[in-house]
């Protein structure tokens, strides 16, 4: 029988017509601390509480855009996880905290059209997600708890051992095969330095990811073996074992390997990528790793290892996904930020945080969206504004349901666009109704004006939205300007260069600035003995295309004069050219010249911030925390900080870059973090 989640929710709507909605009550405050042109699509998250979390908010599922604007929000009493999009369908697993879960298949009308369970009474399905192969078969991972006599290993005679089984089903949900882990692993394969096999409960494998990487093989990540293995589904034999005690590969370009890893995936280029939680690294530090595996010569070449800056240590959970455009999405377990999207070159595309409950077992980013109601178009181009008259567009909204559907409101990010409608707008069953979208960019800077309209339907237990891209033009005769900092003497050698444009800029050719071309547009030169020496740097551009940050590859030479050169070639969106500009600054002595990339286990967020910064530490030891500006002036100091986290209020200080110096009271060991204040 087809379960109609949506119809059920509609009934609840009728019963709670005036109640405050779950969205009002529970939607978290989302902080986007960095945004440099991330991939299109929606982040799909299913945050759950940890057993010791005391927050009252229930677990929920939400889809948010690159600005943190939600398009879907649904709170639930049970845990949701394993979110996945295959074709037009959304899949997610849902079940009680320690019980068996099922995978639900949801169509674009939000109807549950299918349910998937593991076979048999005894195993429990946890953490997994729906993975079909090209034949329509699918694999599920189930846990297998059984009693075993471990006295031969010095353990208990009746220890409860946690194994797993990979079950393969055909299109008709018939169980085709089962691959039992207990038939293939030895209990001594596990990392006995961290896993106690003499205890009454032995989780010696801790399988945390199953990935169908071909029609004949699958990958499994085994956290407590520090191993990833590839299994032939036809024979049940290992194709290879990578990492841990039974490693068959020679590591190339990698001296540390990986451990306690999560979320193994096969990239489209054939490499494998996963999150190396790194509990056993010294010091523990988490990174994203990509290996190229040569199955003939049995070499594993480390292609890249991306660390979060500042370094993060995620002791459990977390993961990594490859996006459609090749970007990499990493999620950081219980740590902040919650997720970071990286460009393929390892630069940050976006970073997002939100309060508890915030532990997502999986986060994906896709352009999937429901069709409960749909706007008549995805983009409205209002053309050129005449300078004073509002422009109006009639946007039809179509209701695909059998009952009246209510549109309750809208959101835009700017005042340049708005909607005229008497909310709630009732869409008749399978019918249309217009809302009027108004374009009035009186207060907009000139040139290209854009926004996203989010049309909202906020029901008591379900929040749904659809987005329409809005654009228009406004006369602009003013050329853009750029302010370059630093432009003074005595700049710390660790400074970064910030180019702040008065309006969005792009290349003369009309091409947008992106993480690749922005590296080649600007020059940073050191003036050495009357000649210019190029200083290598990495550049990022923000999503609004108004800020470029040049981060020198190494600390700048002390007591040297530098020039930042912005050559011709940039224009605003109306085509007005930015005149070539340059500024000079000179560095002071090396007192504050500590590279922030070497920080230990500190987390600073949000960064950039508008005023309040949160700082958390790995170890709770007394510290002195000082905030300096780029001239080295002490602005703020906190002594004997013993808590695991503290808050720094920089809201009284102007925009710019600040240095946070953390000094261990006992050892006098210093770490320097950089914080950007931007409003």
């Amino acid at each position: 029988m087809k379960k109609a989640l949506f119809v059920l929710l509609s009934l609840i709507v009728l019963l709670h017509a005036n109640a405050q909605t779950d969205y009002d009550r529970y939607f978290p405050e989302i902080t986007i601390s960095q945004s440099n042109g991330p991939a299109p699509g929606y982040y799909m998250l299913t945050p759950i509480k940890l057993p010791w979390d005391t927050v009252q908010t229930p677990d929920f599922m939400m889809f948010v855009d690159n600005y943190g604007e939600p398009v879907y929000f649904h709170a639930a009493d049970t845990q949701m996880a394993g979110i996945q999009v295959v074709g037009d369908y959304l899949y997610y697993s849902m079940g009680p905290r320690f019980g068996d879960s099922a995978i639900y298949k949801v169509d674009t009308m939000l109807n549950i059209v299918d349910t998937f369970h593991v076979a048999g009474d005894h195993p429990m399905m946890r953490l997994t997600f729906y993975q079909p192969d090209s034949k329509g078969h699918y694999l599920l991972l189930a846990l297998d708890f059984h009693k075993e006599d471990l006295t031969a290993y010095g353990g208990k005679p009746d220890a409860v051992v946690k194994d797993f089984v990979v079950q393969e089903f055909d299109q008709n949900k018939n169980l085709v095969s089962s691959w039992w882990s207990k038939d293939h692993f030895n209990i001594l394969d596990c990392d006995t330095s961290t896993i106690d096999i003499t205890s009454s409960y032995v989780d010696y494998l801790h399988a945390n990811a199953l990935f169908v990487d071909s029609d004949t093989t699958f990958l499994v990540s085994l956290r407590h073996l520090n191993e990833i293995c590839r299994v032939d589904r036809r024979t049940g034999e290992f194709v290879w074992r990578f990492g841990g005690k039974r490693n068959q590969f020679t590591f190339v370009n990698d001296t540390v390997g990986f451990n306690h890893q999560h979320s193994v995936r096969r990239l489209r280029n054939g490499d494998i990528v996963f999150l190396d939680n790194g509990n056993l690294h010294d010091p523990p530090v988490t990174s994203i790793v990509e290996y190229k595996l040569d199955e003939k010569n049995m070499t594993a070449t480390l292609v890249r290892r991306i660390y979060h800056s500042p370094h993060l240590f995620v002791p459990f959970l977390g993961g990594v996904e490859e996006l459609e455009n090749g970007n990499i999405l990493a999620y950081w377990g219980d740590k902040y930020p919650k997720l970071t999207e990286y460009f393929p070159n390892g630069e940050v595309a976006l970073e997002m945080s939100y309060p508890k409950p915030n532990l997502s077992l999986r986060i994906i980013k896709t352009e999937w969206t429901h069709k409960v109601f749909v706007p008549s178009r995805d983009t409205i181009d209002f053309g050129k504004w005449d300078g004073y008259t509002e422009s109006r567009y009639l946007l039809a909204l179509h209701n695909n349901t059998d009952s009246i559907f209510k549109i309750t409101g809208y959101a835009t990010r700017t005042d340049y666009f708005s909607v005229e409608a008497d909310f709630p707008v009732e869409l008749p069953p399978h019918g249309d109704k217009d809302i009027t979208v108004v374009y009035d960019p009186a207060t907009a800077p000139g040139g290209y004006v854009s926004d996203v309209l989010t049309v909202q339907a906020d029901y008591p237990h379900l929040y749904l939205a659809k987005q329409v891209f809005l654009e228009g033009r406004k006369e602009d005769l003013e050329p853009p300007r750029v302010t370059i900092t630093p432009d003074t003497a005595n700049v710390p050698p660790d400074a970064v260069v910030i180019l702040a444009f008065s309006e969005p800029v792009r290349l003369t050719s009309g091409r947008e600035l992106d993480y690749l071309n922005v590296d080649t547009l600007f020059r940073l030169v050191a003036m050495v003995g009357g000649t210019e020496e190029e200083v290598p740097f990495n550049a990022t551009v923000t999503t609004d295309k108004m800020t470029v940050v040049l981060v020198p590859d190494d600390s700048l030479a002390a007591e040297t004069t530098f020039r930042v050169i912005v050559p011709e070639g940039l224009v605003d969106y109306a085509g007005n050219a930015l005149p070539d500009t340059s500024v000079s600054f000179s560095t002071g002595s090396e007192i504050l010249g500590v590279r922030t990339r070497d920080e230990g286990n500190y987390t600073l967020w949000p960064n950039p911030a508008s005023g309040i910064l949160h700082l958390s530490f790995g170890e709770v030891t007394p510290k002195r925390i000082s905030v300096y500006d780029l001239r080295g002036t002490l602005l703020l100091r906190k002594e004997k900080v013993r808590s695991p986290a503290c808050t720094l209020d920089l809201s009284a200080f102007p925009q710019g870059l600040y240095l946070i110096v953390i000094e261990e009271t006992a050892t006098k060991e210093r770490r320097v973090l950089k914080a950007v204040i931007r409003r």
Partner: protein, 559 residues
């Protein structure tokens, strides 16, 4: 003549001199309202100007110096005076026209039934009839109309409505019944766009023969509509032009209306990259559908105004041009049909103001009467401080706070800077002058009144202050004796009588007919009020009977 300080910094000379440029307040003044840049280059009509510069409803005096401001947080548009005598403006926040009396008191709101009226145009006739417009937005499959058209385009049509004094409709008209979307001027409208504003009417007025005239910017067309049937009588300009004679090449036009039975005036914005925008006046033979272009008057600076603009005929053949939004920030000009400029008002650098249109009125508010509007001090270097008194009379219905009284210029002081005036109250301000050195001194006493401090309503008044400091000698006294200020005058004038001897003042017409006789005790200043006389030139004979000293003055009285 010695100017006491930088003439650009205030309007102090505007009442006595022409050919000057000034800013209507000190730059950087803390006042939130806009500052204007004024150039006076000829005799000024006795009218106040009405502007809506974005959020600020603005009234300026004849010299362009503001006398009233009111702020509308969501914006205000089209501040105009109607044939009925009403003043109206469009409040963007309310989405309706506010109807005001000459004291700017809002006494009515004009709405479009079930929606917002179009702010571009409104006309209230003496019999209370109201002509108004509204947008009528519809979805049109433009792919069936033009190649490449948007199948889901939104097209903005136009509705016209005339209602009687009781609000009952007497005429209604829809562009969907009379204009085709393809009538749009394709230099202005992209028919393949998602949003198409094919008419963009900006003026809907009655004609001298009782029909209606519609100006449609985006069709570059003037349309005469039969008031009884709604049928189109004729179309001028655009794709369906029916007129011959002089070439009709106006584009993106505004504010066409008849200023005589057959004389049509309009603001021709033109297209970018062509001629500057101009005022055009045509003689129209409506029977034979022939036109003759009488005048084409651009701004002397050759302004191009892509959007907005207005024109009105004033007394004595002068024209009031509203220059809309242009790169020079010029708001409006008074000119004549030879193209001579009398007054030019724009924004100061850094404050790019615009007004959709500008209107004028001969009525002046009487919220606060300041008397006199000019103080003249005559002093010698050995004199003590001189004092004179200005009376402020609150004739409004509200208690008014005088929130500032500030002298712009050297040598003068005022004894109070803040005061409360209850309705009907009179307050006397004492202005003192301490002679610093010999010479001529000029200053302006600027007074600001507000109903409440938190209200963004400002009533501005000014008193011109003049002083002459001389080294006392018989020769100087003779030279100063009988000096007349101001000349030309607008009613009141003052004559210097520096010695203590009584004098007789006789005012006569050029033909010698005596119209006024005054005996003056002598010392300082004699004030004459000639406002009861017709404008013209008069003789004033000043005679010291005892010493047989006689001086003949000639004064020009303007109104």
């Amino acid at each position: 003549m010695f100017f006491p300080h930088d003439i650009r910094s205030s309007g102090i000379l505007s009442l006595v001199l022409t050919g000057i440029l000034y800013w209507t307040s000190f730059t950087g003044s803390a006042q939130p309202y806009p500052h204007l840049r004024v150039t006076i280059s000829g005799p000024l009509p006795e009218v106040n100007y009405l502007l809506a510069t974005e959020g600020w409803l603005t009234v300026t005096g004849p010299d362009g110096d503001p006398c009233y401001f009111r702020f509308f947080p969501k914006g205000v548009r089209t501040f105009m005076r109607h044939p009925s005598g009403d003043l109206t403006c469009y409040d963007v926040g309310v989405g309706a026209f506010l109807v005001m009396d000459p004291e700017y008191r809002i006494h009515d709101t004009l709405r479009w039934p079930g929606g917002n009226p179009d702010f571009h145009s409104l006309q209230i006739l003496p019999d209370g009839r109201v002509l108004m417009m509204a947008e009528d937005t519809r979805r049109v499959d433009m792919s069936a109309v033009v190649e490449g058209g948007d199948p889901q385009a939104t097209v903005q049509g136009l509705l016209l409505r005339v209602q009687d004094a009781s609000g009952n409709p007497v005429f209604s008209w829809s562009s969907w019944d009379h204009f085709s979307v393809t009538d749009a001027d394709t230099a202005l409208v992209d028919l393949t766009a998602a949003v198409i504003d094919y008419v963009h009417a900006n003026r809907f007025v009655i004609t001298p023969d009782g029909n209606y005239l519609l100006t449609s910017r985006n069709m570059s067309e003037i349309t005469k509509i039969d008031a009884s049937t709604g049928e189109i009588i004729w179309r001028m300009g655009g794709k369906h032009n029916q007129f011959t004679g002089d070439t009709i090449d106006f584009r993106a036009i505004h504010d066409a209306h008849f200023i005589g039975k057959d004389t049509l005036i309009l603001f021709d914005n033109g297209l970018p990259g062509t001629d500057p925008s101009s005022i055009k006046i045509y003689r129209v033979n409506q029977t034979e559908h022939r036109v003759r272009l009488l005048h084409s008057l651009p701004h002397p600076q050759g302004l191009f105004t892509p959007v907005m603009g207005s024109v009105a005929r004033m007394q004595k053949g002068r024209l009031l041009a509203g220059w809309g939004k242009n790169s020079e920030g010029i708001l409006f000009s008074v000119m004549d049909t030879t193209g001579s400029l009398y007054l030019d008002v724009g924004s100061v650098p850094g404050e790019a103001l615009w007004t959709y249109q500008v209107s004028c009125t001969t009525e002046q508010d009487s919220l606060v009467i300041v008397d006199p509007d000019t103080l003249v001090f005559v002093s010698s270097t050995d004199s003590d401080t001189l004092f004179q008194v200005v009376s402020l009379w609150n004739l409004s219905e509200d208690t008014l706070l005088m929130t500032s009284a500030k002298v712009e210029g050297k040598g003068f002081r005022v004894n109070a800077t803040e005061a409360t005036l209850f309705p009907g109250d009179t307050l006397f301000l004492q202005v003192s002058f301490i002679p610093p050195t010999t010479g001529t001194f000029m200053a302006v006493l600027r007074l600001t009144f507000q109903p409440r401090r938190e209200d963004q309503i400002y009533i501005l008044r000014k008193v011109l202050l003049q002083a002459e400091v001389v080294t006392r000698s018989p020769a100087v006294e003779t030279a100063l004796y009988g000096r007349l200020y101001p000349n030309p005058c607008h009613g009141r004038c003052s004559i210097l009588l520096p010695d203590e001897r009584p004098a007789e003042l006789r005012v006569t017409t050029l033909e010698g007919r005596m119209v006024m006789l005054r005996h003056h005790p002598g010392g300082s200043l004699a004030r004459l009020d000639l406002s009861f006389l017709n404008p013209g030139i008069y003789f004033i004979f000043v005679e010291d009977k005892r010493h047989h000293k006689r001086k003949t003055l000639k004064v020009v009285l303007q109104k």
